[in-house]
Symmetry: C2
Subunit: 411 residues, 2 copies
């Protein structure tokens, strides 16, 4: 059972010409990957089921009624994305769980806890907002009905999309002792420092705002400039304002972007009556985001005055920052040293399902290097040696967790 | 045969809740309107045929082999648009031609020329670029094969879309003595001056640029701000720069807009790798547009330097300004006076099929007032009295043209 062979085989689903994958949540390509993963789990003795929001679980039960050490990540991707983001973590979790099983079988022993593997549904949030949907429903921060009713750009709901791929089962909870996830860094720090293992000690805050800009549809040629209420001009001023928020803070203390934008009617000769966009603000401290948001609010007033449009916040998703438990950090450092790999503490700027899970159980998050820090791009790359080093460290962590390494640590 | 009854009936096709219409070129709603118009022409004794690019012609032949006075406009609309733009001109042309026929039948006379009516295909250009497609192919400025191969946002070609509605016939040309078109002003001048008939003496230039902006797809959260090449940020800076071009000129000497924009991958958490947009620059004089374009070129360099993206012009459509013939202007003024309506000379900022036709035959373009100047908006409105006044003047012009009023005038 060679990890790299499995990984290469899995990466053929939704493969893109540039070496990446394109398998947004509940598409045919996501379904192919899920089916392959389900078969892998079943073939290796795991009991597999899909829950009410499309999360796939594989359970290996040594001791009925004992809690499980859960490990996983997500198989869905951004459009035209890399093959490592999420998928590396899911396969590593499966291999690590299997190593725990095989080690105990070979030794004739039984660990304190059972082991389980998970593919969280729709971590990416590109087709259905918000991101980290499957783990948010599982941990109770997002109501199931709200998640199932979420629509994509074509009006298809999550419920419909899941049913179309046979991806929706019934709610089933099981006791969980700890959660662990391994992921590519999606940043440059490990590469720059020449370290192999990233020990995640905290997360940045992420505040995401859904913005609705309303203007008036009119003729692009004959309407006097002074009479125009151009929603796309207001959107452009907003995008620039969001970018310029960063100039008011120290370098790398605030990340901002607008990446999704839809125009109505989107005709070359009809001034836009409406623009919908999403603004993404992230910082290590929520205090930075509060100041940034205040400044943005001032900018919005100026944009409204200049363009005659209205700029409304019609939705928001807030993820606050938070530390991982000191015992979880120490466990990863011990595992790296036990397996002979260099390590470095860092924070995650991207959201991960571990961000949701750490609110309910003791949680470990481990990174491996990303070449050039590139991610959400089909040229995303992690060298094979780092993939295997990460798997070694993660398998060591899995074994320790199954022996109760984080017992008594609060989630 | 009541004009307003016909107009109201015609306005039911593609009707929108706000009182407008939505019938983009070769959609089901456009097809319904075309079918109704074809029946109207046939029912009133016109010989109807559709040409190779979907233009519908209705011919009334008094004298075989004599040239025709051609009159018309377009039945297609912008998305969520007004019911007057184009459609008023097509129906006025049909009624005016019928009046010429009935007047001669009643008098037992024969005019110097035959009369013909046209619905030009895809004047709006919202679904298939460029606008004024049908008249551009008819007058030879746009190659047929290029027009037929043009695709909409879903990859459907003009040829496929026309075939789907049975809207494509064979090329057939006939001698044309003159062309006349009546249209709503889509501006405020007539309303502000309290005049009923606009006598169009010239057109603004319109320069349209298709822009491709290329950046690099990356994670919106974890990618360092300094490492980003954000195509949507570059697009926003470009849109603002296009708007600010106007500040360098006298009021109403330059109109600019960006109204169509598409983002890839358009995911909330993946920085845009590509944006396509269309910039629309219009002015009374091409010298203004040359200066504006030079300044925009400088801005493009600054945007490229600031964002690390490339901004390329990948297509352009140029309509130069041009006067209508003095004799055509005088004819409209005489017709307004003969029918007892006030008139005022003005230029058209919007493009019309008459802009193409005036390059090949003597051409008349007449305007009626637009309430608040509003157009490309479902609340576009012209009062009934002005619709009927325009029809009276236009019918008078039709009668004069059929007697050779513009003979000897160069096209």
């Amino acid at each position: 059972m060679n990890f790299l062979d499995d990984f290469n085989q899995m990466s053929t689903f939704g493969a893109t010409p540039g070496g990446g994958v394109d398998r947004q949540a509940a598409t045919a390509e996501d379904a192919q990957t899920r089916a392959w993963f389900t078969q892998w789990l079943q073939g290796n003795g795991f009991e597999v089921f899909t829950d009410e929001i499309g999360n796939i679980f594989g359970l290996y039960t040594f001791t009925p009624d004992a809690p499980y050490v859960l490990m996983g990540s997500h198989l869905d991707s951004q459009p035209l994305a890399g093959k490592y983001d999420g998928a590396y973590g899911v396969l590593s979790a499966a291999h690590a769980a299997l190593r725990v099983v095989q080690n105990h079988q070979a030794a004739g022993t039984t660990p304190a806890y059972n082991v389980a593997v998970v593919d969280w549904f729709n971590e990416e949030g590109s087709r259905f907002k918000p991101s980290m949907m499957g783990s948010a429903v599982f941990t109770g921060v997002l109501p199931l009905e709200k998640a199932l009713a979420t629509t994509d750009r074509n009006g298809v709901t999550v419920a419909q999309a899941l049913d179309l791929i046979g991806g929706r089962g019934e709610a089933r909870r099981f006791p969980i002792a700890a959660y662990a996830e391994i992921h590519i860094e999606q940043g440059k720090i490990l590469e720059e420092l020449g370290k192999t293992i990233g020990v995640v000690e905290g997360t940045w805050c992420a505040y995401k705002y859904e913005i609705l800009i309303s203007g008036e549809q009119a003729h692009t040629g004959s309407t006097r400039m002074a009479d125009r209420r151009d929603a796309l001009l207001a959107a452009a001023l907003f995008i620039v304002a969001v970018r310029e928020l960063c100039d008011g803070f120290e370098v790398e203390q605030l990340h901002t972007s607008v990446a999704e934008l839809d125009v109505l009617p989107n005709s070359p000769v009809a001034i836009a009556r409406e623009v919908q966009l999403l603004a993404d603000l992230r910082a290590p401290e929520s205090s930075v985001l509060h100041v940034a948001f205040e400044r943005l609010t001032e900018q919005i007033k100026a944009i409204e005055a200049r363009t005659g449009c209205t700029v409304e916040i019609v939705g928001k998703s807030i993820w606050e920052s938070g530390p991982f438990a000191g015992e979880a950090i120490a466990l990863t450092e011990r595992a790296a040293e036990a397996t002979g790999h260099t390590h470095h503490r860092l924070v995650t700027l991207a959201g991960h399902d571990a961000t949701n899970m750490k609110n309910i159980v003791p949680t470990v998050l481990v990174f491996v290097p990303s070449v050039d820090g590139l991610s959400h791009n089909e040229h995303e790359y992690t060298i094979d040696a780092d993939l295997l080093a990460g798997l070694d460290v993660f398998s060591h962590i899995a074994g320790e967790l199954a022996e109760g390494a984080l017992d008594g640590v609060s989630g």
